[in-house]
C-alpha cells in the first residue's frame, strides 16, 4: 500500500462496520487533563478512608504499626460497653430528633408549598433555614448558653436538651426533600379526590400523605444521618455523662487510639454508606 492510500483511508473514516464505533471525532466537551484532576479528587477523598478501614484489621495494639490481619477488633468494638452506650445514645437521639423534625417539617412543607405566595413567606423560609445560615460553632455555644440557663433555673438535667438542639438543625434538612416532593405533586390529584366526595382530612390521609411517602422517607434519613454525624453542637450542648459516638471518638483521640476505634469507625462508615444508598434509591426521580 502506498502512503497516499493510507492518508485517504484515515480521512474517509466517518463510520465503520462495527455498530456504535465512530472514527476520530472532535469531542466538544473534552477539556485536557480534567479527567486526571477528577480521578485525583476521588482518590484523595477515599484514600484516607481506605487507610482507616485497612488499619482496623491490624493485629496490633499500636494502630500504625502493622503486624498482621485480624477480625478481632470488630468483635471488641461491638462488645465494648462504652461504645455500645455511645452508639445507643447516638441512635436514640437521632431517632427521636429525626422523627420529630420530619413531622414538624412535613407540616411546614404543607403550609408553604403549592400555595399562593403570602407576604410573610420569604421570612418564613428564612426562619426555617436559619440553622443552616449560622456557623455551627455559633449555634453550638448559643444553644449551650441558653440551655445552661434553663438547666440551672429548672434544675432539670437530661438528654432532652441535646435532643431539642438536634431537632433544631434537623428541621431544615428534613424540609428540603419534603418540599421537593410536594412541589412535584400536581394539585389536580387532591382536586380529583375532593371532586369524588373526600373531605379535606380524607384527601390528606388517602392522597397527599401516601404520595408524600418517598419525601418523608428521604427526610427521615437525611435528618437521621445529620444527627448521627453531628459533632460541634453535641460537644457543647451535651451534659455530663451524655456520650454519643462522635464524643467517644474525640475522647479516644485524646487518650490514644487502638484499632478498636478504627473498627468502630469502619462500622459507622458502612452504616452511612448503606443509608446514602437507600436514600438515593428512594428519592430517585422515577422517569
Amino acid at each position: 500500500m502506498t502512503d497516499t492510500t493510507a492518508a485517504t483511508n484515515l480521512a474517509a473514516t466517518p463510520a465503520s462496520d462495527k455498530p456504535g464505533r465512530r472514527g476520530p471525532r472532535f469531542d466538544v466537551k473534552r477539556q485536557n487533563g480534567f479527567w486526571l484532576v477528577a480521578v485525583f479528587c476521588l482518590a484523595m477523598l477515599y484514600a484516607p478512608m481506605f487507610v482507616l478501614v485497612a488499619y482496623a484489621f491490624n493485629d496490633n495494639q499500636f494502630v500504625m504499626i502493622w503486624k498482621g490481619f485480624t477480625w478481632r477488633w470488630f468483635g471488641i468494638a461491638v462488645n465494648d460497653p462504652e461504645i455500645r452506650g455511645a452508639a445507643l445514645l447516638s441512635l436514640k437521639v437521632a431517632a427521636i430528633a429525626s422523627v420529630t423534625a420530619t413531622v414538624i417539617a412535613t407540616m411546614a412543607a404543607l403550609a408553604t408549598t403549592r400555595v399562593k405566595a403570602f407576604r410573610s413567606l420569604p421570612l418564613v423560609y428564612a426562619i426555617i433555614n436559619q440553622p443552616l445560615m449560622v456557623p455551627e460553632i455559633v449555634t453550638a455555644i448559643a444553644t449551650m448558653v441558653f440551655f445552661a440557663a434553663i438547666r440551672s433555673f429548672t434544675e432539670y438535667y437530661g438528654v432532652v436538651y441535646l435532643v431539642v438542639s438536634h431537632i433544631v438543625f434537623c428541621i431544615p434538612f428534613a424540609y428540603m426533600p419534603l418540599r421537593a416532593r410536594l412541589e412535584d405533586m400536581d394539585l389536580v390529584y387532591e382536586n380529583a379526590a375532593a371532586d369524588l366526595y373526600a373531605t379535606p382530612w380524607r384527601v390528606f390521609r388517602r392522597i397527599t400523605f401516601p404520595l408524600m411517602i418517598p419525601g418523608i422517607i428521604g427526610a427521615l434519613m437525611l435528618s437521621f444521618v445529620v444527627s448521627m454525624d453531628d459533632v460541634v453542637i453535641t460537644v457543647h450542648v451535651s451534659g455530663p455523662g451524655e456520650q454519643t459516638l462522635p464524643l467517644y471518638l474525640i475522647g479516644q483521640l485524646h487518650r490514644g487510639v487502638t484499632p478498636e476505634v478504627n473498627a468502630m469507625s469502619t462500622l459507622f462508615l458502612l452504616a452511612s454508606v448503606l443509608l446514602v444508598t437507600i436514600f438515593f434509591i428512594v428519592t430517585r426521580k422515577k422517569t
Partner: protein, 364 residues
C-alpha cells in the same frame, strides 16, 4: 327525572381575578340553563371562560357574584365534596398509587357505600368502559385512551347528577378521538346523566352536542342546537368561530310586513324575510356559508361577480377562493358530485349565486 327539567343553572355569574385596574373578568355576567339528560357543550377559544365556568360548577372556583343552582338548589357556597357533580379532568388525574379498580371505587368509598355494593358498581363500570382486564393494573401502565376511560368510569361510578368533562379528548390522537366521541355520546345516552363538555374544537362540539354555548372573553354569545349555531349564527364571532364563513355588507332599501329588500355591496338586490327589524337606510352584516353559494356562468341571476384566485381539492369537495367585486375575498365550496376535477380554472370570471334563506342577518 323529567326530561326538560333543569339540571344546572348559572345566574348572572361574574368571576373577577385581581383588583382594581388589573382586574380580569373571567366570567362577565354569564347566565345559562342546562337541562337534564342533555349533552351540553361549552365552546370557545382559550381564555374565553369556559373552563372557569366548569370549575365553578364543580366547586373549585367561587363566583365573585351570581349563583349556581343544581336541581334548583343553590350550591355555589358548597365545597366540591358536597356537590353531586363529578369531573373528568383534562389530565385524567388518576391516583398513581391506586389500581384501576381502586380509582373507580374511590368516590363510592368516600360516600360510605357498603363493600359489596362498591364491588358490584366497580365491575359494572369496568364493563361499561370495556376495561375489565385492566382491573388490577397500576394507572401509570395504561395508554392515554385507557386512562381516559378509567377517568370516565371513576367519575360515573358514584352516579352523579351532572358529569363535567374538561377537554378530555385533547390529548388523544385523531383516530382515538373520533372513537371516543362516539363512546361518550353513547355513554351519555345510556346512563341518562347530564354531560357538560368543554372544548375549543368546534367540529367536536357540532358532532356530539345536544346544545352548544359559544363563549368568548367571559361572555356567552349564543346558545343553541348545533344546527342553530351553524346555520343561524347571531354574532360575528360565532359565525367566524364555527366553520368557515363569508361576510357580506348590505343596506336596507325597503321594508314591508314580510321582510326587507336589501341592496348588496355589488349593487344586486335581494329580498330577505328576516331583515324586518332594521330600519330603512341601515347598514347590516350578512353571513353565508361557503357551501350555500353556487358558482355559475356570469349573468343577471347572480348577485356577485368574482375571479377565481385559488382552487383546493379536498376529495369530497372542492373549495374555491375568489376575489369578488365590492365584497373582498369569499370562499365557495362545492361537492365533487360528478367525480372529476372542476372545469373551472384559476383566473376564470364567474358569477356567485346565493339563495336569500342562505343569508343570515347578524346582530350587530
Amino acid at each position: 327525572m323529567v326530561a326538560g327539567a333543569t339540571a344546572i343553572e348559572a345566574r348572572n355569574v361574574i368571576k373577577t381575578f385581581g383588583n382594581g385596574t388589573e382586574a380580569v373578568h373571567a366570567l362577565d355576567n354569564v347566565s345559562v340553563t342546562i337541562r337534564q339528560n342533555e349533552f351540553f357543550t361549552l365552546l370557545g377559544p382559550s381564555g374565553c371562560g369556559k373552563t372557569t365556568l366548569l370549575r365553578m360548577i364543580a366547586g373549585f372556583e367561587l363566583p365573585t357574584s351570581g349563583d349556581i343552582l343544581l336541581d334548583g338548589q343553590p350550591v355555589a357556597h358548597l365545597p366540591p365534596f358536597k356537590r353531586q357533580v363529578n369531573t373528568v379532568f383534562q389530565s385524567y388525574a388518576l391516583f398513581p398509587h391506586l389500581t384501576v379498580a381502586q380509582n373507580i371505587a374511590f368516590g363510592l368509598e368516600m360516600l360510605g357505600r357498603r363493600k359489596s355494593e362498591i364491588e358490584s358498581q366497580v365491575t359494572a363500570m369496568l364493563k361499561l368502559v370495556q376495561m375489565e382486564p385492566m382491573r388490577n393494573r397500576k394507572t401509570n401502565q395504561l395508554s392515554g385512551g385507557q386512562q381516559q376511560r378509567v377517568a370516565l368510569a371513576r367519575a360515573l361510578a358514584p352516579h352523579p347528577k351532572v358529569l363535567l368533562l374538561d377537554e378530555p379528548l385533547s390529548a388523544l390522537d385523531l383516530k382515538l378521538r373520533k372513537g371516543m366521541q362516539i363512546e361518550l355520546k353513547r355513554l351519555q345516552m345510556e346512563t341518562g346523566i347530564t354531560f357538560i363538555f368543554v372544548t375549543h374544537d368546534q367540529e367536536e362540539a357540532l358532532t356530539m352536542s345536544d346544545r352548544i354555548a359559544v363563549m368568548s372573553k367571559g361572555k356567552i354569545l349564543q346558545i343553541g342546537t348545533p344546527t342553530e349555531i351553524y346555520e343561524h349564527p347571531s354574532d360575528r364571532f360565532v359565525a367566524h368561530f364555527i366553520g368557515e364563513t363569508n361576510f357580506i355588507e348590505a343596506e336596507v332599501v325597503e321594508l314591508s310586513a314580510e321582510g326587507g329588500r336589501l341592496r348588496l355591496a355589488s349593487g344586486a338586490e335581494i329580498f330577505h324575510p328576516r331583515a324586518g327589524q332594521a330600519s330603512v337606510g341601515k347598514r347590516i352584516s350578512l353571513v353565508v356559508r361557503p357551501e350555500r353559494i353556487e358558482l355559475a356562468p356570469l349573468d343577471d341571476s347572480c348577485q356577485f361577480a368574482g375571479t377565481i384566485k385559488n382552487i383546493v381539492y379536498f376529495g369530497t369537495d372542492t373549495t374555491y377562493h375568489l376575489d369578488v367585486e365590492n365584497a373582498g375575498e369569499m370562499t365557495v365550496r362545492m361537492q365533487n358530485r360528478w367525480g372529476h376535477q372542476s372545469v373551472l380554472q384559476i383566473g376564470d370570471q364567474v358569477g356567485l349565486k346565493v339563495e336569500p334563506d342562505a343569508l343570515q342577518v347578524l346582530k350587530d
